[in-house]
Each structure stands twice: as structure tokens, then as C-alpha cells.
């Protein structure tokens, strides 16, 4: 089973075909769309599972689409980093389950099948994005996931949502354009689109200027996608306005594609060996540190719970980018594992917030006071999320913080370890506000005490994710040791 070579293409085709077929399947029956989407994602997750098992057993492997040899054909390449397909499938599946009740209330009925189409397309884009070995293909998948994300932000049809989506679209489209331009430059210089091939050919390139221009362009554009300060301005509105399951996908996964893209760029250039990346590294470290602080600073002033979570994403992507920029073994391991852990944590928080909003109808911290008594399980899950995101041991967030801080020492930049640790402190301040509002402050709306827990389709994803936040802290060595060989290979040349 595991060694069947075509799982990798199944993992892409399956959700893509499923997305296209959703409106047809649910033509007669509205209820069919969510069930169909869940079914498709279950099959995709199975394929993902086989792929992850295979990479754990054999190490990285490639798949040549249609049998065309590289560098001419399209190559899908599955390495340890591609195993993030696991988290994409997990969060995607849980968000779809969560959507079942949530979306029925918040989206006009005729649009519901298209909502599921968009979610599946978005997941397809991300799955392809992490597995492709081809730069142009990377761009195509990035566009699939970006376009579906713009539409998902606007899906509720409210005026604010359209504004937020438009802002997201403009920023996203410009960054996509820059990426395309940079890919073109690299193609012009190296004559190849295959990443591994480009990496080898770059070593011998005489004229460095276009290469450096391409590098700068890609880095900047990917930073827009990753919402690094000061390129973050599209993120808070988009993530806060979108339906909560979409927020979970956007904040947990879509933002990370920017970081993941940076990781791939680093792979190409580390592979080439002869390029001086210190400038880019320094930029990333500084912007990462500034993002941590500024994200936390803005979050403190937010009353809207989803707005607060959105700003918290900016801080956390700051961690990841800082870890990448440190370019030390520990730093990069910490960063890649945080891609995974932050997705778990932020999905817990956004889905939890969605459950609160669904049951109470309120979304500001003041209005939500006392909800801890009314919805004890959801509130507990969100508190666990809050503790994890701040990095209190032994939760999922802690090990990443530990690794990135160690990475800072390893890179000879202890000052950034300091920034990281104290940024986390800043973050705690607003999560304490959230916990206070849930548990320790008298309710603003007494009727809030009467609402019960959300339905199982919403409660289960939230609780499962919260449990994973704890488990991945205690069993944190598993992802850490899984990713270690890939990072060693990447840094070693």
C-alpha cells in the first residue's frame, strides 16, 4: 500500500476533483455538500498518511507526472517538509466538520455548495504547494490557494467582508505578480524551472545581479503572503471577517504557505552553495522580531476576539521567520515545527472562538464575559490554546520557543533570543485578558449564562485540537526528530 507510487498524485487530484464535483453532487440535496467534502478529505488524508509513512521510512522521493523526465516534465517531490500535508489534511478535515452547522447559519443558502468547493480548492492548492518540485507549478498552486482564499473571505457577503477580501486580493495579486516575475528571471538565467535543477545550475551562474533580484523579489512577495510586518495590513481584517472555520484555515495554514515558500527558496539557494544569504537572513530576523512585538502590541488593543487572534498570528509567523533567518540548525528545526504546532494552536483558538460566536452571538471580550461558566469545555480548550501559544511548558508552543531561542544562541545572536522570550510575554498579556473575560469577570449580558455547549460537530474539533496542543508538547520529540535530517541536509548543502 505504502509504496504504491501514485498516492502523491491522488493527494492532489482527489480534492481537486472533489471540489469541482461538489455543486453537482449537492444539486438535489443541500446537506450532501458537507458530507461529500468530508468524504473527499478523508480519502485525501489517507493518501497523505501513506505519503508521510513512506517518507519516514525511505526518505525523500520524487514522482514524475506523466513519466516525463526532469527537468523537462513536472516533478512532484516529497521530502520531510512536505509532510506538512498531514497538518493541512487534519485542520482541513476538522474545519469542514466544524462548518457543518456553522456555515448553515452564516452563509446564504445557495452559496453553501460553493463554499465547500472553495475550501476544497484551497486545500488542493496547499497540498500541491508543499509537494511540488517545480517552480512554475509552485506558482500555479499558490494562485489556486490564494484565489480561493480571497473568495472565502468574502463568502459571507457582508459589506465589510468584501472590503477585507478586496484588500487581501490587491496585496495578494501584487505579490503573486512579483513571484511570477522572479520565477521568470530565474528561468531566464538558468533555463530551468525544476527546483533541484535550478539549485545545481545556480552555482555556476556568472551574473549574480538577476539572481539576487529574483531572490529579493521572491522573498518580499512571500513575506506579503506570510504577513510579516509591515506587509501584514491585509491580514487582520481578512482573518477576522471570514467565517471561523475559514479563519482557522487561513491563519493556521494559508499564511504558512508564505513561510513555506521561503523555506523552499532557502533550499534552492543553500543547495547552490555559493550565494551570500546573510543580508536576507538579517532582514528576516529583524522583521521577525519586529513582527512579534508589533503583532502583540496591536493585539493588546483589540476588543474583537477574532481580531486579537489574527494579530497573534502575525506575532507567531514572526517567530517562524526569525527561526528561518537565524539559519542555525536549532532555529530552522524550531521554525518548521512551529509551522505545524501553530497551525494546531491557532485552529483551536479560531474554531473555539467560532463556537462561542455561534452560541452566544457575541464576539468582543466585553460581551463574552462569563462564557466560561456557560460553555466550560470550549472555554477550557481555548485556555489550553492560550497557554500553548504563549509557550508555557509542556504545551506545543514551548518546544518551538525553546528551539528557536537555542537557535539564536547557536547563531551567535542571543539578543534575539531575548526578543523572542519577551515577545511571548507581551503575547501573554492579551491572552490573560481573554481568560479573565471568560472566567473571572461578571457577565455583561447575564443571559449568556444560559447558553450551552455548541453541537458535537463543532465541539469535537475544538476539543481534539486542544488535546493535540497538549499531546504535541509532551510528544514534541516526534516532529522534532522527524524534521531534523531534512534540516541537516538543507544546511549541509
Amino acid at each position: 500500500m505504502v509504496s504504491w507510487p501514485h498516492w502523491i498524485i491522488v493527494a492532489i487530484i482527489m480534492p481537486m476533483a472533489g471540489a469541482v464535483l461538489t455543486p453537482i453532487v449537492s444539486r438535489k440535496n443541500d446537506k450532501a455538500a458537507p458530507v461529500w467534502a468530508l468524504f473527499i478529505m478523508s480519502l485525501t488524508s489517507l493518501a497523505a498518511l501513506f505519503l508521510i509513512v513512506r517518507v519516514a521510512q525511505e526518505g525523500p522521493f520524487s514522482y514524475l507526472v506523466g513519466g516525463w523526465a526532469r527537468p523537462y516534465g513536472i516533478e512532484l517531490h516529497f521530502d520531510e517538509f512536505s509532510a506538512s500535508i498531514g497538518i493541512i489534511c487534519l485542520i482541513g478535515w476538522l474545519a469542514l466538520l466544524f462548518s457543518y452547522h456553522y456555515v448553515a447559519e452564516s452563509i446564504p443558502k445557495p452559496r453553501i455548495p460553493y463554499y465547500y468547493t472553495l475550501v476544497l480548492l484551497n486545500l488542493t492548492g496547499m497540498i500541491g504547494f508543499v509537494m511540488t518540485g517545480d517552480l512554475f507549478n509552485l506558482y500555479v498552486f499558490m494562485e489556486i490557494l490564494s484565489l480561493s482564499a480571497y473568495a472565502l473571505v468574502a463568502v459571507s457577503g457582508e459589506r465589510v467582508a468584501e472590503m477585507a477580501a478586496f484588500k487581501y486580493l490587491v496585496m495578494g495579486a501584487v505579490s503573486s505578480l512579483i513571484i511570477l516575475f522572479s520565477i521568470g528571471l530565474l528561468y531566464a538565467v538558468t533555463g530551468s524551472l525544476n527546483m533541484a535543477d535550478i539549485s545545481t545550475r545556480l552555482a555556476g551562474i556568472e551574473s549574480r545581479l538577476p539572481v539576487m533580484l529574483a531572490l529579493a523579489g521572491m522573498a518580499m512577495a512571500l513575506m506579503v503572503k506570510a504577513a510579516i510586518f509591515p506587509l501584514h495590513i491585509w491580514l487582520p481584517d481578512a482573518h477576522a471577517i471570514a467565517p471561523s472555520p475559514v479563519s482557522a484555515i487561513l491563519s493556521g495554514l494559508v499564511v504558512k504557505t508564505g513561510v513555506f515558500g521561503l523555506l523552499r527558496v532557502y533550499q534552492i539557494f543553500y543547495g547552490a552553495g555559493t550565494y551570500e544569504l546573510a543580508g536576507l537572513n538579517t532582514t528576516l530576523i529583524w522583521l521577525g522580531a519586529i513582527s512579534i512585538i508589533m503583532g502583540a502590541f496591536f493585539a493588546i488593543f483589540q476588543e474583537d476576539i477574532k481580531m486579537m487572534l489574527a494579530y497573534s498570528t502575525i506575532s507567531n509567523v514572526g517567530y517562524i521567520v526569525m527561526g528561518l533567518g537565524l539559519a542555525s540548525q536549532y532555529g530552522i528545526i524550531g521554525a518548521t515545527v512551529h509551522i505545524f504546532n501553530h497551525a494546531l494552536i491557532k485552529a483551536t483558538l479560531f474554531l473555539g472562538a467560532g463556537a462561542l460566536m455561534y452560541k452566544t452571538g457575541y464576539r468582543t471580550l466585553t460581551d463574552l464575559r462569563g462564557v466560561g461558566k456557560a460553555m466550560p469545555l470550549t472555554s477550557m480548550a481555548m485556555s489550553i490554546g492560550a497557554i500553548s501559544i504563549v509557550g508555557i511548558p509542556p504545551t506545543a508552543g514551548f518546544l518551538c520557543k525553546w528551539y528557536i531561542a537555542l537557535g539564536a544562541f547557536q547563531a551567535g545572536q542571543p539578543a534575539f533570543g531575548f526578543a523572542l522570550v519577551f515577545g511571548a510575554l507581551f503575547i501573554f498579556i492579551y491572552y490573560i485578558r481573554m481568560v479573565n473575560s471568560f472566567y473571572f469577570q461578571p457577565p455583561t449580558h447575564p443571559e449568556i449564562l444560559e447558553v450551552g455547549e455548541a453541537p458535537v460537530s463543532m465541539l469535537f474539533p475544538v476539543l481534539l485540537l486542544a488535546a493535540l496542543c497538549l499531546v504535541m508538547g509532551i510528544l514534541g520529540r516526534i516532529p522534532l526528530s522527524f524534521i531534523e535530517p531534512a534540516v541537516t541536509r538543507m544546511l549541509g548543502g
Binding site: I387, I392, P393, P394, L399, K401, W402, Y403, A405, L406, F409, Q410, P414, G417, F418, V421, F422, A424, L425, F428, I429, I432, V435, N436, Y439, F440, Q441, P442, I474, G476, R477, L480, S481, E484
Partner: protein, 499 residues
């Protein structure tokens, strides 16, 4: 005497049993106060039994160790019970047991009791974890858990004052915790994962600048918890705001956990010889000496009883830090023993303060005139603890101060004797007037609620823990040198650290 490593599954029980209490006993007994009291008392008692059961072996030179699980590819969660940990563990669990029994009376008409008991039980678990941690990462895990997850107890009353105190608490504690984290990361980077043994993890070849940075991060980080002036700001606010049984363990054990952390750093991470070479300890001595006197002076002016006691805690923890910083064997014995002695002295005082609040409505020192006639037992226990705090022989406070004094002469720093005596004198100034007023002053004219001659003594469930704590104070003084007492453990720990 060589210490001998013994693999054992007992140490983790010390934190697993209270966790069981929090996640199994509390939810199961939601509806029955009585069963909850019984169930939690049993878990707490079992914890004491575990802690006590480890002592004979430790005195025999055994070091119990347990590998729990691998947290990262390179670091284990690792428990290790040595003399220092055993001392802290038995102190914490015993005081917790008393405070828990006391809670069943004190919290009877409070709100959100399930939450209170769950977190109360959990905080014992984390404290035991801190006591028995075998390496820095394990220490950090438990230390952070117990810093953060006590927040619900600090703000339990949910009054605006409690919320403000809670915010102050969490900010101070988090800043401290962050510095500790940095120091531990840095230590790990330089020394790798090593057990906390008496050789020390670091050495001079790692660069003096690095070592100094690590040391001050540790000291300031733990200093926040240990309430070293000027890092003590949260202590006087958190104590009056929290429920009395929690103030008891907060003052008695949790503040001391900061001092315990400093001891681990001084004796296990750096080691005595490296620190003498670095020459930083004299500054710690200044800070500690200043803490002793400064906090004691502030205590004199407080009218709120729990606030006065909180300042007294700061001052007493200054003694511990002073004892550690002198880097002498006798002084270390004094410091270690004082952690345990202080826990029960201050425990008694806070338990009595809670009785005064609950049963006489007294929050302020100025309202205590003549109260001894109405609450003879409470005030009896209070008086014993107050005298012990001042250092009256043969009570327990005297023992620790005697060793501290010996230690000062031992390392040729007699000037600190003035601090020792000054602190004791000030303790007399801030505690004795309370006792005097309670026994010898005329009561306040007819109480608005109760007639002046009515007895206000609390029910046994609350009175007994207070009396027991006072009795322990007495025993720790009278039978100080009996085997198995804290003094014997402290002597062993000091012997290992200095030979």
C-alpha cells in the same frame, strides 16, 4: 559519604497523586462537600507519605531517580530526589495538607469551589515536581506550570482588588519566568543537558561574560518569585487578595520555591568554587541584606494583617538568600532549614489570620485589641509562631538563625550579624505589638455583630490545622537535631555541596 543512584518509580507519584486528586476526585465529588474533603485529604496525605517515605533512603545516601519521558530528541524529563529536594518536598506536602484541611472549613461558603480545589491540588503537584526535578528543563516545566496555573487561585475572589493583584502577580511572575527560561536555554547551549548534581554544570572555560549573564538572569528571574527587593512588588498585593489557605502556601512554599531555585542555581548549576571565582556573591549578599531590613521596616507600618505578614515573608526570604549567598556550609544549612521552618511559622500566622477574618471579621491589626479572650486557641498558635519568627529559643526560628549566625562567623562576615539581629528585632517590632494588643489591651467597645464576651473560636477543621502548624513549629525547634528532621537533610545537602 558517596551518594548512590537508585532508579525508582516513587518520585513521580509525588506529583501524579495530586494531579489525580484534581482531575478525578474533584469532578467526581462535585455534589458532595464531604466526599471531596475526604478524597482530597487522602490524596494530599498520600503525597506526604510519598515525600516522607523517600527521606530515610535519602539520609542513607541514596539518590532516587526516574526518567519520565523524552521531551526533545536530546532532553529527558528527569526526576531526582536528593537531600535538598527531599527537604523541600516534605515541607511543601505537609503544609499543603494542613492548608487543604483548613480550606474545607474556610471555603465552605465561597463560590466556585470545584475550580478552587482543582487548582489547589494541581499547584501541589507542580510544587512537588519542582522539588524533585532532576535537570533544568524539568525544573522549568514544573516551575512555569506552577507559576501560571496558580493565577486562578490568586484571583479567586474575583473582586477588583483581586483582579488587580492577579494582573500584577502574573506580570511579575512572567517576567521572572522569561528570564529563567533564557538562562536555562543559555545554560543548555553551553553545557548541554546535565543533571542537577553537586559538581555544577558550568566552568570558567565558558567565558566569564556568559557566566555572569546566566547568573544574573537566573538570580533576577528567581528573585521575582523569591521576593528579593526590588522585585517583590507582587507579594504584598497578592497575599491579602487571595483566600487565606492559599496565602498560607503562597507565603510558606511558593515564595520559597524562588529561593529553592536560587539554591539549585548556586549549588548545582554553578557550584560553590566557580561562584567564589566569579565573585558575584557579595552583590547578592547586599541585595539579600537590604531585603531583610527594608521589608521588615515596611512591615511595621502595615495595618492590614495579611499585608504585614506578606512583608514579613519578604524579609524572611531575604534571610534565606543571605544564607545562600554567603557560600558557607553552616550558612547553607541555616538557609535550607529556614525554608522549612519559615513555611510552618508563616503558615501558622496566615492560618490564624484567616480565622480572624472568617470568624471575627478582623482584617486589620488595629482591630485585634483584646481578641485573645475570645479566640484563645487561635491567638495561642499565633503567639507561638510570632515568637518563633522573632527567633526565640527553643522555637524553630531560632535554629535557622543560629546556623545563619554561625555561617556568618564561619565565612568571616560578622557584619551581617547586625542584619540578622536587626531583622529579628524588627520582626519583634511588627509581630509582638499584635500579640500584646490581643492579650493585654481592652477589647474594642461592644462589637457591632457579636457581644464582646462571646467566644469566636472556629470549628475544629480550621482550628486544628492552625494548631498543628504551630505544634510543628515547636517540634522543629525542640527536636531539631532528631534524625529525619529538616536539619538532618540540610546538613547532608550542605555536606555534599561543600565536600
Amino acid at each position: 559519604m558517596d551518594s548512590q543512584l537508585t532508579a525508582s518509580i516513587i518520585p513521580p507519584l509525588a506529583f501524579l497523586i495530586p494531579i489525580l486528586g484534581a482531575v478525578v476526585v474533584v469532578p467526581l465529588t462535585r455534589t458532595s462537600e464531604r466526599w471531596r474533603a475526604i478524597g482530597l485529604s487522602i490524596t494530599c496525605l498520600l503525597t506526604v507519605v510519598v515525600a516522607a517515605g523517600l527521606i530515610p533512603g535519602v539520609l542513607d545516601g541514596q539518590v532516587y531517580e526516574t526518567y519520565l519521558l523524552r521531551l526533545t530528541p536530546r532532553i529527558w524529563m528527569y526526576m531526582r530526589v536528593d537531600a535538598m529536594g527531599a527537604l523541600f518536598g516534605i515541607t511543601a506536602s505537609t503544609l499543603w495538607l494542613l492548608a487543604l484541611i483548613y480550606s474545607t472549613g474556610y471555603m465552605a461558603d465561597e463560590h466556585r469551589k470545584s475550580r478552587y480545589y482543582a487548582f489547589f491540588s494541581l499547584s501541589l503537584a507542580w510544587t512537588m515536581g519542582v522539588a524533585y526535578s532532576g535537570n533544568l528543563l524539568t525544573f522549568l516545566v514544573f516551575y512555569e506550570l506552577f507559576s501560571i496555573l496558580t493565577y486562578p487561585l490568586v484571583v479567586h475572589e474575583e473582586t477588583p482588588e483581586a483582579m488587580a493583584a492577579g494582573t500584577k502577580y502574573i506580570i511579575y511572575i512572567l517576567i521572572g519566568g522569561s528570564l529563567v527560561l533564557l538562562a536555562i536555554v543559555f545554560t543548555f547551549f553551553l553545557a548541554g543537558d546535565q543533571t542537577l548534581s553537586t559538581q555544577g554544570l558550568l566552568d570558567m572555560s565558558m567565558g566569564k561574560g556568559n557566566l555572569l549573564a546566566i547568573f544574573w538572569c537566573f538570580l533576577v528571574g528567581f528573585g521575582v518569585k523569591a521576593a528579593l527587593v526590588p522585585l517583590h512588588g507582587w507579594v504584598p498585593d497578592a497575599h491579602p487578595a487571595a483566600p487565606a489557605p492559599f496565602s498560607t502556601v503562597l507565603s510558606g512554599v511558593m515564595v520559597a520555591a524562588g529561593s529553592f531555585g536560587i539554591m539549585r542555581v548556586v549549588f548545582n548549576v554553578f557550584g560553590v568554587s566557580l561562584l567564589s571565582e566569579l565573585g558575584v556573591m557579595q552583590y547578592v549578599q547586599y541585595i539579600a541584606a537590604f531585603t531583610v531590613i527594608f521589608a521588615a521596616i515596611l512591615a511595621v507600618n502595615q495595618d492590614n494583617l495579611k499585608r504585614r505578614l506578606a512583608y514579613s515573608t519578604i524579609s524572611q526570604m531575604g534571610y534565606v538568600a543571605l544564607g545562600v549567598s554567603l557560600l558557607g556550609e553552616q550558612a547553607m544549612i541555616g538557609a535550607l532549614v529556614h525554608i522549612s521552618n519559615h513555611a510552618f511559622m508563616k503558615g501558622t500566622l496566615f492560618l490564624c489570620a484567616g480565622l480572624l477574618i472568617k470568624h471575627a471579621g478582623i482584617h486589620r491589626v488595629s482591630e485585634m485589641r483584646g481578641i485573645a479572650k475570645r479566640m484563645p486557641v487561635t491567638m495561642g498558635a499565633f503567639a507561638v509562631a510570632a515568637l518563633a519568627m522573632i527567633g526565640t529559643p527553643p522555637l524553630s526560628g531560632f535554629v535557622s538563625k543560629w546556623y545563619l549566625g554561625l555561617g556568618m562567623l564561619d565565612v568571616d562576615k560578622p557584619v551581617y550579624l547586625a542584619v540578622l539581629l536587626g531583622g529579628a528585632l524588627l520582626a519583634a517590632v511588627y509581630l509582638l505589638p499584635i500579640v500584646y494588643a490581643a492579650y493585654f489591651k481592652e477589647p474594642i467597645p461592644a462589637g457591632d455583630i457579636t457581644p464582646a464576651d462571646k467566644k469566636l473560636e472556629a470549628p475544629l477543621s480550621m482550628l486544628l490545622p492552625a494548631v498543628a502548624a504551630a505544634a510543628i513549629t515547636l517540634i522543629l525547634g525542640l527536636a531539631a537535631s532528631a534524625p529525619g528532621m529538616p536539619l538532618s537533610l540540610a546538613r547532608l545537602a550542605a555536606k555534599l555541596a561543600f565536600h
